[in-house]
């Protein structure tokens, strides 16, 4: 019996994958019903644990899984406030006049894309819409390829497609360069030395956008999307503290707490932390995208996690009291 269940589930999934082409959407009423059912199920778990029955960890996984999947079909809008750190970044970007050159460093790879790609998408769309020139580089090998995905996503927007941003004039992808923070250090003297050609082997001097761009002094802002080393810390330490160029960053949530002190000290001009930072940035720039869709799922899952933390603690305390009881 136990072995048949996974087979049936898989067969069902295969059938859907092969033959389904209609999207599933729950009406607001049904969304509420499902939410309440999920809440009730958690109450049942709470009662079970209060009566001393240990629930299996797989049940927790199941709850988290359900709470992540269901909101994709739901019809709720999440209230969302733009936090000061995100606002700071947006304000700094918004102050840039048309034609300003922004260096965008994509320092992440596909595993971190769910968090950072929505930020990248919103940033590139915003830049194209506001006639900001984007110079893309990457300190991680896959970074510039992730940037291309964002450019593609932006071009799919009819308004931006009508503007038709030109490669080499409105944006350029200089590709990846090895050397970690030494690349940033070298760019302080000469971009050309670090990126002699772009991603497609066009020589630096043949790229119209790069004419007149020697070093950080010709750059108005640096936008860094980072998921580790080398990343935001290195950009702050070298680009900000040595060369004085303003840097704003988007980080994975894991890394964000380590980067916050730089925002507090004013070394970093704003920070987008994880999915919530991405969603807030989408709201600030008006480029609603994936992060806003994901945020509902994430909030549901967080509620479930908080619920289980409470359940665990209640069960622990009641369990302790029960163990002590016979002694009295």
């Amino acid at each position: 019996m136990k072995k048949i269940v996974p087979v049936i589930v898989l067969a069902l999934l295969f059938a859907i994958a092969l033959f389904n082409d209609s999207a599933l959407e729950l009406s607001p009423t049904w969304s509420w019903v499902v939410t309440i059912l999920l809440g009730l199920a958690m109450v049942v778990v709470l009662i079970l644990s209060m009566t001393g029955k240990m629930i299996e960890r797989r049940i927790v996984f199941l709850f988290v899984g359900i709470s992540l999947v269901l909101p994709f079909f739901m019809n709720f809008t999440m209230p969302l406030n733009v936090s000061p750190v995100v606002q700071t970044l947006y304000d700094a970007l918004n102050k840039l006049p048309k034609g300003s050159k922004v260096l965008a460093s994509f320092d992440y790879d596909p595993p971190s894309a769910p968090e950072l790609q929505p930020m990248a998408d919103a940033f590139v769309k915003w830049a194209f819409r506001n006639d900001i020139k984007v110079i893309i580089v990457g300190l991680w090998p896959q970074g510039p390829l992730q940037a291309n995905l964002s450019v593609e996503a932006a071009m799919a927007d009819p308004e931006i497609a009508a503007k038709n941003p030109k490669y080499g004039v409105d944006y350029v992808n200089l590709g990846f360069q090895t050397g970690n923070e030494f690349v940033i250090q070298g760019m302080g003297t000469s971009f050309r030395a670090k990126f002699p050609t772009d991603l497609y082997n066009t020589p630096y001097d043949s790229i119209p956008l790069m004419r007149g761009v020697e070093n950080f002094s010709n750059i108005d802002f640096v936008m860094n999307l980072s998921s580790g080393y080398p990343g935001t810390v290195e950009w702050v330490q070298i680009a900000v503290d040595r060369f004085g160029v303003p840097v704003g960053a988007g980080n994975t949530a894991v890394q964000a707490p380590q980067v916050y002190p730089y925002v507090e000290s004013g070394q970093l001009t704003g920070l987008l932390g994880g999915m919530s930072g991405a969603a807030e940035f989408e709201k600030a720039t008006g480029e609603a995208g994936q992060a806003n869709t994901f945020l509902l799922s994430q909030s549901f899952a967080h509620l479930v996690v908080v619920g289980f933390i409470l359940i665990g603690n209640v069960a622990l305390f009641i369990g302790q009291n029960r163990r002590r009881a016979p002694l009295v």
Partner: protein, 422 residues
């Protein structure tokens, strides 16, 4: 004695010299420096009808501070062209002789300065700045010829160099003091005291002890700290006649681990009880190692688990498995991202520098003890700066007390503090 004094002086001199060299080699923040090399005379504009004449673009050419004579800063005052609707950019052109053959060296929209990073300290350059519009340009007059200058010291970073030399000197001083046999005081560290208790518990329960020295190789200082503590753990294990199991991810760590445990058994007077099988290599593959270690935990059910060294994503996996077998767990790492997991899942955690402190405390090795004490001096300096700075700022602002204003401005100069722009 004299030899040691010479060593100390040489070490301080070398440190100071290397710091100086590093500072010179590094180009620096765009802090304005007052040594203006040249200022342009009134500029003549060549404006075309559609662009309103907002007056001349006045340009200044300054040497880039604290560099090896490779750069000039070309700055200008924007008479208001930036806010005109058709404005494209400011374009800076360099001329190396009197001819009109200039080379565009940079453009800027918002920032009214451009750095010429390829200027020479032997040939004079002059510059023009043009405000560029779709069909025409407003060009400034040519600046006076100027040359880049070489600076030997990064003047704006003297706080860093002074603090750097001070901390390095303190480290060297304490290392030398420790080498001379003076006892350096280190405070007790809670996690260390739990070691005996944890080993004792394992002995009582008749179950083994698991020791993981991180997943990095011997070149990571955290691994070394872990192995130092292993010496102490192994000695207690030998005394109590308990059992220890140490899976390794790197072959060098395995070899070193065996040496450490063998030595500890010798010191405890039980060389016969030692066996090479106590330490064994598993695999270099990160999650392969984790899977194997988890397997050992689940099968052997050690009563106590030590995780001391550099850990990455496996920290929570190990600690959770340890929790599920109800082992006492003592962890220590300097990986900031992994500390929360150890703190949440283990009984004792050596947080960050405590790992090194514990290692220094147990090894009594002069270099470890001395560095730790020297760093304490650095921390004391930071604490004093924060307290004195905070108090003097408050008093100076709130009650206008002259003395505190003096202290405040002195600190601000020392630490290069500007009021944060918000």
């Amino acid at each position: 004695m004299t030899a040691k004094l010479y060593t100390t002086i040489t070490a301080i001199t070398i440190t100071a010299l290397s710091l100086l060299l590093l500072l010179i080699a590094a180009p620096h923040a765009l802090l304005a420096q007052s040594d203006a090399v040249a200022e342009s005379p009134d500029s003549a504009t060549t404006a075309v009808a559609q662009v309103p004449d907002l007056g001349p673009i006045l340009i200044t050419v300054e040497d880039f501070p604290s560099d090896a004579g490779e750069a000039l800063i070309i700055g200008w005052e924007d008479p208001g062209y930036v806010s005109l609707p058709d404005f494209i950019e400011y374009r800076v052109t360099r001329y190396t002789d009197d001819s009109d053959n200039g080379m565009v060296i940079g453009t800027s929209v918002l920032n009214p300065e451009v750095i010429d990073g390829e200027a020479s300290h032997s040939i004079a350059h002059s510059y023009t700045v043009a405000a560029v519009f779709p069909d025409h340009e407003v060009i400034s007059a040519r600046s006076e010829p100027a040359m880049a200058e070489i600076q030997w010291v990064a003047a704006d970073k003297y706080a860093v160099i002074i603090i750097g030399i001070f901390v390095c000197a303190a480290v060297i001083f304490f290392i030398e003091t420790a080498k001379r046999g003076k006892t350096l005081f280190l405070r007790r560290i809670a996690g260390l005291e739990a070691i005996d208790e944890a080993v004792g518990r394992a002995t009582e329960m008749g179950r083994p002890i698991l020791f993981v020295a991180g997943i990095q190789d011997m070149d990571d200082v955290q691994t070394l700290a872990g192995l130092t503590i292993l010496g102490r753990v192994a000695r207690t294990v030998a005394q109590y006649d308990s059992k220890i199991n140490m899976p390794c991810r790197a072959s060098l760590v395995m070899t070193a681990g065996r040496e450490v445990i063998k030595e500890a058994y010798n010191v405890a007077g039980r060389p016969d009880a030692y066996s090479d099988d106590m330490v064994h290599y598993v695999t270099d593959e990160q999650f392969g190692f984790v899977a194997a270690t988890n397997g050992i935990m689940v099968r052997e059910k050690p009563a106590t688990c030590f995780y001391l060294g550099a850990f990455f994503a496996e920290s929570l996996i190990l600690a959770e498995t340890g929790n599920s077998i109800e082992a006492i767990q003592i962890a220590g790492t300097a990986m900031p991202a992994q500390l929360p997991f150890f703190v949440a899942a283990c009984d004792y955690t050596l947080i960050g520098e405590e790992l090194f402190a514990a290692s220094a405390y147990l090894s009594e090795e002069p270099r470890q003890l001395g560095s730790l004490k020297g760093q304490d001096v650095g921390k004391a300096l930071a604490m004093i700066a924060i307290v004195v700075g905070g108090i003097s700022v408050t008093l100076a602002q709130a009650w206008d007390i002259g003395l505190f204003q003096v202290i405040e401005s002195a600190l601000r100069t020392a630490f290069n503090i500007q009021l944060p722009v918000r």
